[in-house]
Symmetry: C2
Subunit: 112 residues, 2 copies
């Protein structure tokens, strides 16, 4: 992933409402959640939510799938994964040693 694209995706995660959406959709897993469910959890106007969802879709962080009159939102986990992978790749020193302590990160994920 090139820098421009990574920056664009990070910018989308860099907004508290959108990061909250991200969080909710991570918890929801592959099946995702309807727009209405997200709206209920966040308690924000539909137009505002729609705006943020559209932005996230534009950079492929998420996807929507219609089922009847309900639209389901699903995180694109491979994209999230490649974004985090890019960040980690950037966090290696020139001599091949990762600067970030990977085991700390693993602990963080283990305690969930």
């Amino acid at each position: 992933m090139e820098l421009e694209l990574a920056a664009a995706r990070l910018a989308e995660l860099g907004h508290s409402t959108r990061l909250a959406i991200f969080r909710i959709l991570v918890k929801a897993g592959r099946q995702g959640l309807s727009v209405g469910d997200i709206q209920q959890q966040l308690d924000i106007p539909g137009s505002t939510l729609s705006h943020h969802l559209a932005r996230m879709i534009k950079v492929d962080l998420l996807q929507q799938q219609r089922e009847g009159r309900t639209l389901y939102c699903q995180l694109q986990f491979e994209v999230v994964e490649s974004l985090l992978g890019y960040l980690y790749a950037e966090c290696c020193t020139a001599d091949g040693q990762p600067l970030l302590a990977m085991h700390n990160i693993e602990l963080a994920s283990a305690k969930c």
Copy 2:
């Protein structure tokens, strides 16, 4: 790290110039680089660079240390680490299984 702070930090990384600064400083390691060196690598006006550095400092992504008339910029690696740790933590399902394939990430960092 709470959501608001994580979002603020991600927003700072979410700009191509600042992500480029981040990248350069990661490569530079703990000792950091002078503002002038960064400016030379990026080829942008000093005032613009200063503005971006100030923003990154504000959210503790980096630090400056004066040595004579030269200012050294150093990434705050612990902060970066906690930010990525937070993102990973958010990427766990409710039942304790990480959704992102951690081994892929490790491969990504291993190939640096």
